[in-house]
């Protein structure tokens, strides 16, 4: 995003908001991973403790979700950089 039109008071304000949103995004990511990995990995309710198989599944699922998100993020950033470069060429 382009904040070049912002004065310094606006930038300070915007930075606070962004910081807060990053915190919220992080917490939502956390909740998403818990939900998704629980739903994928836990299907046996004959016991109340996680089995070691379930635990392995949850750990792999979490790690994989991060790697997935990071890869999506990298590709997305590349696309945005390309789009930005294309938009600035004519001017």
């Amino acid at each position: 995003m382009d904040f070049s039109g912002f004065n310094s008071a606006e930038q300070v304000h915007m930075n606070k908001i962004i910081e807060k949103k990053q915190m919220q995004d992080f917490l939502r990511l956390y909740a998403n991973i818990v939900e998704k990995c629980f739903n994928s990995c836990c299907n046996d309710f004959t016991s109340k403790a996680l089995s070691s198989k379930e635990e392995t599944c949850v750990m792999s699922c979490t790690e994989k979700f991060f790697k997935h998100s990071e890869r999506v993020g990298s590709r997305f950033a590349e696309l945005n950089a390309d789009a930005m470069a294309a938009a600035q060429k004519p001017s």
Binding site: I18, K64, V72
Partner: protein, 100 residues
């Protein structure tokens, strides 16, 4: 999000142009929402729900790259379609629960 274009004027006295900031927040929220949905769709399309280890395999990596590319193309096509239907973005005629 190209059609989030024109900044609306008006301010609020304390050196903060609240409309401009509101607009920036809306843009930020929109990109984040869009990104999160893409992550979720591409996860459903590309990652098999059997978790024996935490590494992405080759097939998954290639699938993710193509998925992001296609998702982005779909976003553009849908955006063009919406604009051609005459929904100008702000204050547009998106079908809502009421006519306001």
């Amino acid at each position: 999000m190209s059609f989030l274009g024109g900044a609306r004027p008006s301010g609020s006295g304390n050196g903060l142009n609240t409309d401009k900031i509101d607009m920036a927040i809306t843009e930020l929220d929109t990109i984040t929402d869009f990104f999160n949905r893409m992550v979720s769709s591409c996860h459903a399309k590309c990652i098999a729900p059997r978790y024996t280890d935490g590494e992405l395999n080759k097939g998954e990596m290639v699938c993710i790259d193509r998925c992001v590319s296609k998702y982005n193309e779909v976003q553009k096509k849908v955006g063009e379609k919406i604009q051609s239907r005459g929904n100008p973005g702000a204050g547009g005629a998106a079908p809502g629960p009421m006519g306001f």
